[in-house]
């Protein structure tokens, strides 16, 4: 078995996260701990507060985890280099936010953009007219009002766990059962939420006719 020492190799961490299931969280924490010293470094280097540095670090770690899970991290660079780059960008974002004091330009989150990018251009623009980040905020609120089990399930799905893993984690018999339950939860969420009409919504008034 693996030993939980501090010097877990990068490979072991990546494999552990990819292996998924209940172990994934453990390895995520290991990843967080392994490079935690970067927080202190960044505090000095970028002259940002400890809280900001820690927040940026958490964001960066979550980004790396997403990339590992989605397969975007291909292991071509070292985990540390990869993390460091994302972390530095997050720190720079914080500096920009505090120094320019400007309201953030309203932007779709990375997850949303990723999902859109999957679609071919024409279909993408059709869907793009129907979405807005503010609605994602609405959905998050509704999500919090869902039942415990539903919420857990959708959150796990959001973290990129497969239905198989969700079935394991939440003691469902099969992945298919977990999937049906999850989709039902999504339907519940959909009922709570009323999408703005495509041509009447304030958020997403189409530019053309």
């Amino acid at each position: 078995m693996f030993s939980f020492n501090k010097n877990l190799k990068d490979d072991a961490i990546v494999q552990g996260i990819l292996a998924g299931g209940t172990q994934r969280r453990l390895f995520e924490n290991k990843l967080y701990e392994k490079f935690y010293y970067l927080v202190r470094d960044a505090q000095f280097k970028h002259k940002i507060s400890a809280d900001d540095a820690q927040s940026a670090y958490s964001d960066a770690i979550l980004g790396v985890i997403d990339h590992v899970v989605s397969g975007r991290f291909e292991g071509r660079s070292e985990l540390k280099t990869y993390l460091f780059q994302i972390f530095t960008n997050k720190c720079v974002d914080i500096i920009r936010k505090t120094t320019t004091n400007k309201a953030e330009v309203h932007q779709n989150s990375v997850g949303l953009e990723d999902a859109l990018a999957w679609l071919p251009d024409e279909a993408q623009s059709v869907v793009r007219k129907l979405i807005a980040e503010s609605e994602v905020e609405q959905l998050r609120k509704h999500l919090r009002q869902l039942g415990e089990k539903c919420r857990e399930m959708i959150l796990a799905w959001g973290e990129g766990y497969s239905d198989d893993e969700i079935a394991q984690m939440m003691a469902y018999n099969t992945a298919a059962v977990a999937k049906t339950s999850r989709q039902r939860c999504l339907e519940k969420l959909k009922e709570k939420y009323s999408p703005p009409t495509p041509d009447g919504g304030a958020f997403n008034s189409p530019t053309g006719g």
Binding site: Y32, L130, I154, L155
Partner: protein, 236 residues
């Protein structure tokens, strides 16, 4: 919804995929469905991230704490090492100085016993105050001797013999402050052929044994040795 997930999970065949994308353009209901799905997933992601971030923040706090704690341990260890070294040095040092001062005090007592029990009587006028003092001293009347010598010193502050005897009397009376005062005054004089002032002062200091006296004794003995003042042979 299944179809959308299949599309995003890349489990559709190429034909199915193209058909899906084509339908998306013309079917507002499907587009609406996709828009919801995409946003719901983004919301789930954001929510999951927010929760995970909180967990990480806790983890980070505990990491900082343990780090700080281990830092405190390091400081404590370093401090105790320094303390032990200091203590060890102090004990060692005080043992040595105790040993030295013990030897020297005994040695001083022995010297005083040997040399100051009786003073040399001089031939001459027995009414001379000096002579009176010496006689009184030799007969054990230290009080009378003290009065005699001190009067003499008061009358003639340059009377080296009187000053010396006054010091010796004070030493015998264990009035070390007074002895040191006399010997010190004597030791400062440079006009004498023989001046045991500094050496006697060292003897008196050894007896008084105040915290700073050791240092003074050391300095005096060094001076005596270096300049070969009276008593340097004893010091050697």
């Amino acid at each position: 919804m299944d179809k959308i997930e299949q599309y995003y999970n890349q489990t559709l065949s190429k034909a199915e995929r193209l058909a899906f994308e084509e339908e998306l353009k013309s079917n507002p209901a499907l587009a609406q469905e996709v828009a919801f799905w995409v946003q719901a997933r983004a919301a789930a992601q954001a929510e999951a991230h927010a929760r995970r971030k909180e967990e990480f923040a806790m983890l980070g706090q505990s990491l900082t704490k343990t780090k700080q704690r281990s830092l405190y341990y390091t400081y404590a260890a370093a401090a105790s090492v320094v303390l032990m070294l200091g203590l060890g040095w102090w004990i060692y040092k005080s043992q040595i100085t105790n040993y030295e001062s013990q030897i020297n005090k005994e040695w001083a007592s022995a010297y005083i016993e040997k040399n100051f029990t009786t003073l040399n009587t001089q031939m001459g006028n027995s009414n001379d105050s000096l002579q009176i003092g010496i006689t009184a001293y030799n007969s054990g009347d230290l009080k009378k001797a003290k009065v005699a010598f001190e009067q003499l010193v008061q009358r003639d502050s340059l009377h080296a013999e009187a000053q010396k005897y006054a010091g010796i009397v004070a030493l015998r009376r264990q009035d070390y402050d007074q002895a040191i005062k006399h010997f010190h005054a004597l030791g400062l004089r440079t006009d004498l052929v023989a001046n045991p002032g500094k050496f006697y002062e060292a003897l008196a200091l050894l007896h008084r044994d105040l915290p700073l006296d050791k240092k003074k004794v050391e300095n005096l003995l060094k001076e005596i040795k270096a300049a070969k003042l009276d008593g340097w042979k004893e010091v050697e």
